[in-house]
């Protein structure tokens, strides 16, 4: 009896161990995650090393190249670039988590409902998805911006969430559509399980790896969009982000003045985070999808 009961447990741990085994041996996943985690750690623990005000002016320290005192040098106004970089990383991760989370949540809710309900509801949600998909997001933002003076990280994340969910919705809808025709969904209905629970507890667990990967992509995408918005002057009016640093550097001609230390850290920061997330995602795909595993 005891042997019979322990056998399935073993089988389960074997499956889990297999995923972990491939996860720990996947250089793309490990490398990508390492880069993101290091940058996240810099953003979180950076203030311990350097707790200055990112906006503190200092005319005596203006336009300094990197040194022991100012690791990443200073700006035209003598602001410490490393202090700004640390604060900027935080904002950038914040907008990634908020905007990416919002994108994923809106897209999943609409995708799940459209795919599960089908019929008329699906057609209407599909139409909405297509409308948002072809909406010129930038033009909308310019208009919204003209009316709403206050621009915070939260507003930026909200805007990203409200405009970039369609591709998530489409992909989730397609997967839900094929899963809901499986008989276990009918069996759950025959057990009087409410629709919300059927979607969350029966259908979603079958695509958990996919949903996880979607969130990672949304996270990276959100950072990229936020940085572009910052750069063209549609960023938050308060605080500092990597995109805003780039915009400042550009505005004060850092490139022509040869102040490379002003624009390289934020540029490299954005590229590294977004690039590493994409690489990690490719790695995850290989872990979850045995067909893609090399060797």
């Amino acid at each position: 009896m005891t042997t019979l009961q322990t056998a399935p447990e073993k089988a389960e741990t074997v499956v889990r161990r297999e995923a972990l085994y491939f996860a720990f041996r996947n250089p793309k996943l490990l490398g990508g995650l390492a880069v993101v985690l290091i940058l996240l750690a810099v953003g979180i623990f950076g203030p311990i090393l350097d707790s200055g005000d990112p906006f503190a002016y200092s005319f005596t320290d203006a336009i300094q190249s990197p040194s022991g005192k100012h690791w990443f040098g200073t700006t035209t106004f003598g602001q410490d670039v490393f202090t700004q970089f640390v604060a900027g990383l935080r904002t950038t991760f914040e907008v990634g988590a908020l905007g990416g989370g919002l994108t994923a949540i809106i897209g999943m809710v609409i995708g799940f409902v459209a795919g599960y309900r089908g019929g008329m509801i699906d057609e209407i949600l599909n139409m909405l998805t297509n409308i948002v998909l072809v909406l010129p997001a930038l033009a909308v933002l310019l208009i919204v911006n003209a009316y709403l003076g206050v621009r915070s990280v939260g507003m930026q994340a909200l805007f990203i969430g409200l405009t970039s969910w369609p591709w998530v919705a489409r992909a989730v809808r397609a997967q839900t559509f094929s899963l809901r025709t499986r008989d276990f969904v009918d069996l759950a209905r025959l057990s009087a399980v409410p629709t919300r629970k059927i979607i969350l507890r029966e259908i979603a667990p079958n695509m958990s790896s996919y949903l996880f990967m979607t969130f990672i992509l949304c996270f990276g995408g959100s950072i990229l969009i936020a940085s572009s918005l910052d750069f063209i002057g549609l960023g938050p009016t308060q605080g500092v982000s990597l995109g805003l640093m780039l915009q400042n550097a550009h505005q004060w001609s850092a490139l022509t003045l040869g102040m490379w230390w002003w624009f390289i850290p934020p540029g490299a920061g954005i590229t590294l985070i977004v690039g590493a997330l994409y690489v990690a995602n490719v790695g995850l795909d290989e872990v979850f999808n045995p067909k893609l595993r090399e060797t």
């Binding site: 009896m1 019979l4 009961q5 399935p8 447990e9 089988a11 389960e12 019929g119 008329m120 057609e123 499986r182 008989d183 276990f184 009918d186 069996l187 759950a188 209905r189 025959l190 057990s191 009087a192 399980v193 029966e202 667990p205 079958n206 958990s208």
Partner: protein
Amino acid sequence: MLSLADVSKVYRVGAFGGKTMTAVDGVTFDVDQGQVVSLIGESGSGKSTIGRMILGLTAITKGSITFDGAPVRPGADYYRKVQGVFQDPFSCYNPVFKIDHMFQLIRQIRPYTQEKLEESISSVRLEPGQVLGKYPHQLSGGQLQRLLIARALLLDIRLLVADEITSMLDASTRIDVLNLLVDLKARGLGVLYITHDLSLGNYLAERTVVLRRGVVVEMGPTEKVFEDPLHPYTRQLLAAVPRLHAPWEDARPAGCGVHSDVQPDPDHYVACSCEKEPE
């Protein structure tokens, strides 16, 4: 117990439900307590649609289905009395959970003890210790199908809709599962046995309903339908021995056999066979 009256189902297909497709057309029959009724028809004749309407999984377009006089209302109350088992046992289990999950789901509509669970698993001739705690892919189709019947027994239901439950099983397992249906009948359950397989239908059922393109062409006591088929379609269905190199011919009436106003036996219904035929 279960009563279908002039039940029709029209599916909306195409963009914004532009086109329609009549899958079931004016079907009327009853299933009583302790009775097995077999619903026979070829693939696409609307059998599953009827089963799903009885189970409240698909809406009825026209007509009514009542259980003990009350119309079908999907919900805990109804599913304590009426349950279904389907064709593909592998698709009936959520692959990410152990099979215990399926039993867990019905706890909220009828609480049960661990003993009761093991008792119902034993009653479908399975060893509880060998199946509980396993993932669906670790069990065979026959075992999974029996567990679905155990689930129905645990709910203490009164009517089971069995939709081609043996068509994906191998011959020996098929007989075992059919014997379980005989047990159910002995317990006083009503069973709607949906099949396209004639040879097994008559083995169990008191009554047979022959369905063709969503329409009942003949129905009555199984022995009358099988020994004295009156509708040309039923005749052809019974006479049909699969032949190689010969295409399956759709039943075409050779002249008019029976008119609906000439019912030979009140208990043996035959549709008029000289209705306008498509093609």
